[in-house]
Amino acid sequence: MKTIVKYVFLDLIRNKTILVYTVILAALSISVLGFDSNTSKGLLSLMNISLLFVPIISILFATIYFFNSIEFIELLLAQPIKRQKVLLAEYIGLASSLSLAYMVGIGVPLVVLAPGAASFMLVSTGVLLTLIFSSFAMLIFVLFKDKTKGIGAAIILSLFFTILFDGLLMVFIYSFSDYPIDEVVVGILSFNPIDLARVLMLLKLDVAVLMGYSGALFKKFLGSSAGTIYSFSFLLFWVVLPLLLSVRVFKRKDL
């Protein structure tokens, strides 16, 4: 398993898309942080950029990569090695190279220009989002036989979490505004990893109350530390769940 992880990783760090992704992230973070003397503001902008682009790029790149590797995965499966191991090794190699791209692109400029706990939080939530959406990509890969359909599903899923989910939540809040639904809203938020990541960042930056409904709610109900632990564990849950599901499906998949 380690062997496959190693070679997949070595292949991907020379991948042009990943290199371009790293460079763009680095350029963005340097310009945003250099723009304003207020690091808190700069971090907020970087957070918004990360929350929008990391999920979409991770899931799209990972889905395309998985579907392009299908012949290679077949060759690996014809070797004396367990099915699950091949799949998990592909995931680890892919997720680690995407995470590395994020850590280099965002993390390195942050360490130099704005070291601190909030920066650390931004990097770790970004990495978690990368892991989550690569994991979703793998689930899509094992569920769909056709590459085009798989990419379509990846686009829909990422749009759902970045845009549609919040819209639906707003509709829900407006229509039930006469009832005490605060706890329910916190519960619903846990189903969107992007919202969880946002809450984590906002709690750390101490601008939670300024940044809308979800941040204020978390602050009110969970307090900073409990809220952080809660969101972290749910984010981890979102990494593991698609992974376990895809391993289960893959056991019986025909290639």
Partner: protein, 248 residues
């Protein structure tokens, strides 16, 4: 060596394999022939554990294929389409598979040397032509001198010299008592290397006979003539059956 018993596999309504039972023994080079969609690739993939049949059992060297992976150390597989990660070099691909199959320490480098892969081993897989990738796939299949070789359209993209080299290697391996399973559409490429023929049709093996037997039955010498003879005979039989029905 490979024992296939009552294997059935369907994709939706389409039956790719329909109650197939075959006994493939060592020292044979068996060609799997048949029209597109007759279940050749599904059969090969079932043996490799890539496709999981809904009924029936497959045994390789006495080991059940289902929920098992160790048996694959006896198999070398050359896929129809060899696609590899873009930025891996030939050397890396070879090393990777060597590291996965650690239990083998002796390597059969005949093809690696024959195809002169050492000279270009630092080229990335992306920069290789289809035929070059095919050569890498062939080397991987033969590298661990496995007891069983499964070759899916091995000569499809190869130049005549390399194709000839691969054929010689196949004959050599057969003589040392291995089982070789080949699918191919190019019948002339199978001439002289195949000892047995399985002809698949609509998910069922129509016949499984040695080449000598077939030559005797049909009175033909060349492989493509033999196959044509049999198919013609079969079509005529079908026609007659239909005419018979119409008369009634």
């Amino acid at each position: 060596m490979i024992k296939i018993e009552h294997v059935t596999k369907s994709f939706g309504r389409f039956k790719a394999l329909d109650d197939v039972s075959l006994d493939l023994e060592e020292g044979r080079t068996i060609s799997l022939l048949g029209p597109n969609g007759s279940g050749k690739t599904t059969l090969i993939k079932s043996v490799l554990g890539l496709v999981i049949p809904e009924r029936g059992t497959i045994e390789v060297n006495g080991q059940r294929v289902k929920n098992n992976w160790q048996y694959r150390s006896h198999i070398g597989y050359m896929p129809q389409i060899g696609r590899y990660p873009d930025n891996m070099t030939i050397e890396q691909v070879l090393n990777m598979i060597k590291e996965i199959r650690r239990e083998h320490t002796k390597y059969d480098n005949d093809l690696v040397e024959g195809f002169e892969l050492k000279k270009i081993q630092h080229k990335t897989m992306r920069s290789l032509s289809g035929g070059m990738r095919q050569k890498v796939s062939a080397c991987l299949a033969f590298l661990f001198s496995p007891d069983i070789l499964v070759l899916d359209e091995p000569t499809a993209g190869l130049d005549p010299v390399s194709s000839e080299m691969l054929k010689e290697k196949i004959i050599h391996e057969q003589d040392s008592g291995k089982l070789i399973l080949i699918t191919s559409h190019v019948l002339s490429d199978l001439e002289g290397i195949t000892s047995h023929i399985i002809y698949m049709q609509e998910g069922k093996p129509l016949f499984y006979k040695s080449t000598e037997e077939l030559q005797e039955i049909t009175g033909e010498e060349k492989l493509n003539r033999i196959i044509a003879h049999i198919i013609k005979g079969q079509q005529q039989a079908l026609k007659k059956g239909k005419e018979h029905e119409n008369h009634r």
